[in-house]
């Protein structure tokens, strides 16, 4: 009886998740192509894909970019999300209007976000340049955002934060609302001011929420794909190359499935490491 309930999901997960997942580990050690050549059979090649990967300039640049993206976007986006959550958690008029406003980019699909921001970054004279020139009284810019190897990746970071921060804000908001008001009352009786309350009450009480937000954002940073595929195709000069874009370019566009599977394995090991880190930190909390 139980199997009747369980089997549709179990079979689907087995065929479309577990099997391909295990296949990735097998394919990584072969020279499998997407469309097999009838004259050349697929061969076991040992660690050749992994050796080639780390010799590949483009892969190394992509992986490095994922780490840079994480190092910049995770702290900025997490900090901004917390600030937004605190702002819209105030008991003031219009706070739900502001909350909806900050969340609205989350429901705009990334494909649209990429296209709209591409136009805003219009080479030389886009709206973003007009803003920057207005704020700096004409001293800064105009910049060639997406064609300048130094600026292209930061430009992509900005729109990624713009689109994603509302999601984290809502998670922080839920965390804030779970903090009992009595703790704030008690601390203000003890003479704590707002800033002390933030550092000694709010932040410690949001510890698990912060761990979740940081880990989830890190994993998303390693999946970075749609924006760069649409806006820059990884260019200029691989300045916006990412691991996932490299996987798709090699595995799908160049048909090198074996090699792409090897990159996928490295990608998964990173995601796994990050997730285990989360488990580790949360475990520590429980024993306290």
């Amino acid at each position: 009886m139980a199997w009747l309930f369980m089997s549709p999901a179990a079979i689907l997960l087995l065929v479309f998740l577990i099997v391909p997942f295990l296949m990735a580990f097998g394919l990584a050690f072969t020279d499998q192509r997407l469309i097999p050549n009838p004259n050349l059979s697929t061969q076991f090649v040992g660690f050749r894909n992994f050796v080639r990967m780390f010799q590949n300039e483009t892969f190394r640049r992509g992986l490095l970019n994922n780490f840079i993206f994480t190092a910049v976007v995770v702290p900025v986006q997490t900090g901004l999300a917390l600030l937004l959550a605190i702002l819209v958690n105030q008991k003031i008029r219009l706070s739900n209007v502001f909350r909806a406003t900050y969340f609205s980019p989350v429901v705009v699909t990334m494909t649209v976000v990429a296209v709209v921001w591409f136009f805003l970054y219009n080479p030389g004279e886009g709206t973003i340049n007009a803003f920057i020139q207005a704020i700096s009284f004409g001293r800064l810019g105009p910049y060639d955002w997406l064609n300048d190897p130094k600026l292209a990746f930061p430009a992509i970071m900005v729109l990624s934060i713009w689109q994603g921060v509302g999601f984290q804000m809502v998670i922080y908001l839920a965390g804030l609302q779970e903090i009992p008001l009595e703790i704030y009352e008690a601390s203000s009786i003890d003479g704590a001011n707002k800033i002390q309350q933030f550092f000694y009450v709010t932040l410690p009480m949001l510890r698990n929420t912060t761990i979740f937000v940081v880990i989830a954002t890190t994993i998303l940073a390693f999946k970075l794909f749609v924006q760069v595929d649409i806006m820059t195709r990884g260019g200029p000069q691989d300045a916006t190359m990412t691991t996932m874009l490299h996987v798709i370019n090699e595995g799908f566009r160049n048909l090198r499935v074996g090699y792409a599977a090897a990159v996928t394995v490295v990608f998964f090991l990173i995601v796994l490491g990050v997730s285990l880190l989360q488990r580790f930190f949360l475990e520590e909390e429980r024993t306290v």
Partner: protein, 295 residues
């Protein structure tokens, strides 16, 4: 309480001034941030209504890009339909996402019911497997899955975009967490009355679990409405192409007519924005629930 109100009436001018300044700063900051999050959406909508392509290109170089003026109209929208079967892509996307969500709700909730409520051998192991699977991102299986569906001859179809995404470990986990918290008495009473497990699931569990069904539906909708990488790999012709890939290809056509592109983007965005504003509470609650992932 009375003490507070009485002091409130005799506040010094300095206090009132400070409070007013703080209020202005607070709303100023909130509005500035609001502008930051709205201006690209506003820019998209305004540009889509400007029928003179030359004006759009001139306006984008200044803040006039955000002002609706000049010749306005729906011509860009008509042009999109003239250049591409937009309605076809919209129907494809709605059908694909609708099928994933609907079939997913059924398959994932029944599995969770078996895990949470039925006694059977292997249940503990399977629960562990499902939770472990949450960690595997789709990106880690995309390439072998592509090889697999190629062998199946599934490329260029609706089902290649639906079937692999019906079962979802995180959805099962969310259902499981909800079901495990439901009181058992109703179910036991029904069992005594001789009701079968399917009837109990359908007539008792499902009606009690509307919030978690809504949460899973919204999270799955947000995920798969945005699908881009997979359909890019498995659709080539227009017949089965979803909106996001059509958008990308429309964007890639030269000469690039920005008025048309913005109309295309608006037609993707506005319906979802309206649904979001109507069911805002549900959206926010669903996203907040996703925060328990792996926690």
């Amino acid at each position: 309480m009375t003490a507070q109100t009485s002091t409130a009436t005799v506040h010094s001018a300095g206090y009132l001034l400070r409070r007013a300044v703080r209020g202005v700063l607070n709303y100023g900051l909130l509005s500035l941030l609001g502008f930051f999050f709205l201006f690209p959406i506003l820019f998209m909508l305004v540009s889509s209504l400007k029928t003179n392509e030359g004006q759009i290109l001139r306006d984008v170089t200044s803040l006039k890009a955000l002002l609706p003026y000049g010749s306005l109209g729906l011509q860009n929208y008509f042009d999109v339909f003239g250049r591409m079967p937009f309605h076809r892509f919209m129907l494809n996307s709605v059908f694909i996402v609708g099928a994933i969500v609907a079939l997913g709700l059924l398959v994932n909730s029944t599995a969770a019911y078996a895990l949470a409520r039925l006694n059977w051998k292997g249940r503990g192991v399977l629960l562990g497997v499902v939770i472990a699977l949450i960690i595997i991102p789709f990106e880690a299986v995309a390439v072998p899955l592509l090889l697999m569906v190629n062998r199946f001859g599934w490329v260029e179809s609706y089902h290649v975009q639906i079937i692999p995404f019906i079962a979802d470990a995180f959805s099962i986990f969310l259902f499981y967490q909800f079901f495990i918290g439901l009181p058992k008495d109703l179910e036991e009473a029904a069992l005594v009355d001789g009701a079968g497990r399917f009837r109990i699931y359908w007539n008792i569990i499902v009606p009690l679990s509307r919030p978690v069904f809504a949460t899973v539906a919204i999270l799955q909708f947000l995920t798969h409405w945005n699908d881009y990488m997979w359909p890019l790999m498995v659709t080539r012709a227009e017949t089965y192409r979803p909106l996001m890939i059509a958008m990308q290809q429309f964007f890639g056509q030269y000469p690039r007519l920005w008025g048309d592109i913005m109309a295309f983007a608006s037609m993707i965005t506005v319906p979802v924005l309206i649904v979001f504003l109507l069911f805002q509470k549900w959206f926010v609650q669903s996203v907040a629930t996703s925060g328990i992932k792996g926690g």
